[in-house]
């Protein structure tokens, strides 16, 4: 009974995250227009690179690589890479004290809301982007229902990895007065190493090694590989396992950071 009650709470939190974003319709339309413009530019660059090199680069021909660019635009709204500072702001104002008093772990509460937000973003921003990309230059898809299911699972895992990464960045607010520098450095590294601009498979060897040592390829490269049919069979399972490994590692880190932050926190006034 206890576990079912908890699940219901997380479900309600996810719904609240979903509805909070659904209010801003004009913002959504603006986001779709902007994402499309960037999709066209990114796709054109990658296709131009393939044309300059011959017919294919590291297993991507023109069609595969433009599909890569558009799938990236689909994920953009859901998978957090540019960071948010909601929790850091609550640490600064002291509101975090209320979160720490609740009988649920803080990261899990915010993750539930974030999954709700990401689901809405995927439906109202991602799906239209997919349609626009398909109309503009064609998009390739996962082969069958199982591959689709794994692809969608990998989006959920990517959202979770992105959330936990940002959560840890926010936790630095327990120790630092101003976390903007940490946030900026994180998002610059994340967008580059996730493969948002150029597929990670195109990186020179040393940069691929750097990327593989971070959770960032799990954010964009992995879900795209699965959803576009670039990776299937054992390769797909291996990628999912890597995502799960990062989630485990980051979740432990988030738990420890929250616990250490709680001891460190001092809220003034009353």
């Amino acid at each position: 009974m206890f576990v079912r009650g908890d699940l219901r709470t997380y479900g309600l939190l996810a719904r609240a995250g979903f509805r909070r974003q659904a209010t801003y319709r004009l913002a959504l339309a603006a986001g779709i227009v902007t994402n499309s413009v960037f999709g066209v530019i990114r796709g054109s660059i990658l296709v131009g690179a393939v044309a300059g090199a011959g017919t294919a680069v590291s297993g991507y021909d023109a069609r595969a690589v433009s599909s890569y660019a558009w799938w990236g635009q689909v994920l953009l709204g859901s998978v957090a890479m540019w960071g948010w500072s909601e929790i850091a702001d609550r640490v600064r104002t002291g509101d975090i004290a209320a979160d720490l008093l609740r009988p649920l772990p803080v990261p899990a509460v915010y993750l539930a809301a974030d999954l709700g937000r990401a689901t809405l973003a995927l439906l109202v921003r991602g799906v239209p982007m997919l349609a626009i990309g398909a109309a503009f230059s064609g998009v390739t898809f996962a082969a069958g229902p199982l591959e689709w299911a794994l692809g969608i699972l990998s989006i959920a895992l990517a959202v979770t990895v992105g959330f936990l990464g940002n959560y840890l960045v926010n936790c630095t607010a327990f120790w630092l007065v101003e976390i903007r520098g940490v946030m900026l450095a994180y998002s610059i590294a994340a967008t580059l190493l996730a493969g948002l601009y150029v597929p990670v498979h195109w990186f020179p060897g040393w940069l691929q090694a750097v990327a593989a040592a971070t959770p960032f390829p799990s954010l964009v490269q992995t879900p795209i590989d699965l959803l576009s049919g670039h990776a299937a069979g054992p390769a797909a399972w291996r990628l999912l396992a890597i995502q799960c490994g990062w989630i485990l590692l980051l979740a432990v880190a988030a738990h420890l950071a929250t616990a250490a932050g709680r001891r460190r926190l001092e809220v003034q006034g009353g």
């Binding site: 690179a49 101003e178 520098g181 900026l184 450095a185 610059i188």
Partner: protein, 277 residues
């Protein structure tokens, strides 16, 4: 402000007021040293990350849109330099919706200075100096690697590209600010023109399909800030709707953007009804 006016006439008074506003903005940023240093480091990193992107592309292909790596470096440097400079002076204009929501814009209406002038001088993003530094270093490297001869044509084009290119992109920020009076919640729409235009400007126009190239040459004339000048400086042939001779029309392209900017701004200001309160 009243004293300034009686002392030196309304025009001189306005200039003195803008100057002191700008001075206060600069001092405000330099005051928080650590925060300022972090911001500078972040913009340097952003520039380097974008440069890595270009490097990774050319790691996989010898040519992109008819340019080799060295030529692409020149396009990258010019596009980054002009955009970062425009961003330094006018980039905050796309924060107009925040000003509207916070009621700060109402304060602008009350002061005896031009609304646009106040918005333009309300902030100077000195942190962009980091990105400008990266662009200048890449520009120097690109000029050396391409063995650009210092003739009147190459140096004239370079100077024109840097000055008029900055003016053009600055105009984009203002044009978009005017639209924001309607788009308060849709501020991300503005990014399609400003950041989208800047991103397109970093590329060879020839990577784009014809309609996109025409859009970024004749509607949002981003191609004028870096790609077209590069064709002239390096003596490259270009292609359809990307003739090197077009590059000399850069001042006209900048004037076009500012014409649109002043029109959207004028209608935007008239449209504004106040945020209540």
């Amino acid at each position: 402000m009243a004293d300034l006016r009686t002392e030196a006439g309304p025009r001189a008074g306005a200039w003195a007021a803008y100057r002191s506003i700008l001075r206060s903005r600069v001092r405000a940023q330099a005051g928080y040293r650590v925060s300022f240093a972090t911001d500078i480091a972040a913009t340097v990193l952003t520039g380097l990350a974008e440069l890595t992107e270009v490097y990774v592309i050319f790691h996989n292909t010898p040519r992109l849109g008819g340019l080799n790596f060295d030529a692409a470096l020149l396009v990258f440097a010019l596009a980054n330099l002009t955009f970062a400079a425009a961003d330094l002076f006018l980039g905050h204009c796309d924060r107009l919706p925040t000003y509207v929501r916070e009621g700060r814009i109402d304060v602008f209406y009350l002061r005896p200075l031009s609304l646009l002038g106040q918005l333009m001088t309300s902030e100077v993003s000195l942190r962009r100096l980091g990105r400008i530094t990266v662009a200048v270093v890449v520009l120097a490297i690109a000029l050396v690697r391409n063995e650009v001869a210092p003739t009147p044509v190459t140096m004239g084009m370079l100077a024109l590209a840097i000055v008029a290119g900055t003016v053009l992109l600055g105009g984009l920020f203002v044009a978009v600010a005017g639209l924001q009076f309607w788009l308060v919640d849709g501020r991300e729409f503005a990014n399609a023109f400003t950041y989208g235009g800047a991103y397109a400007a970093q590329q060879s126009s020839l990577v784009f399909p014809d309609p996109v190239r025409i859009f970024f040459t004749f509607v949002v004339p981003a191609a004028f800030t870096a790609y077209l000048p590069t064709l002239v400086i390096l003596g490259l042939p270009g292609g359809d709707f990307a003739d090197p001779a077009l590059a000399w029309w850069l001042p006209v392209a900048a004037a076009w953007v500012w014409l649109v900017a002043l029109v959207t701004w004028r209608f935007g200001v008239r449209h504004y009804q106040g945020a209540g309160g």
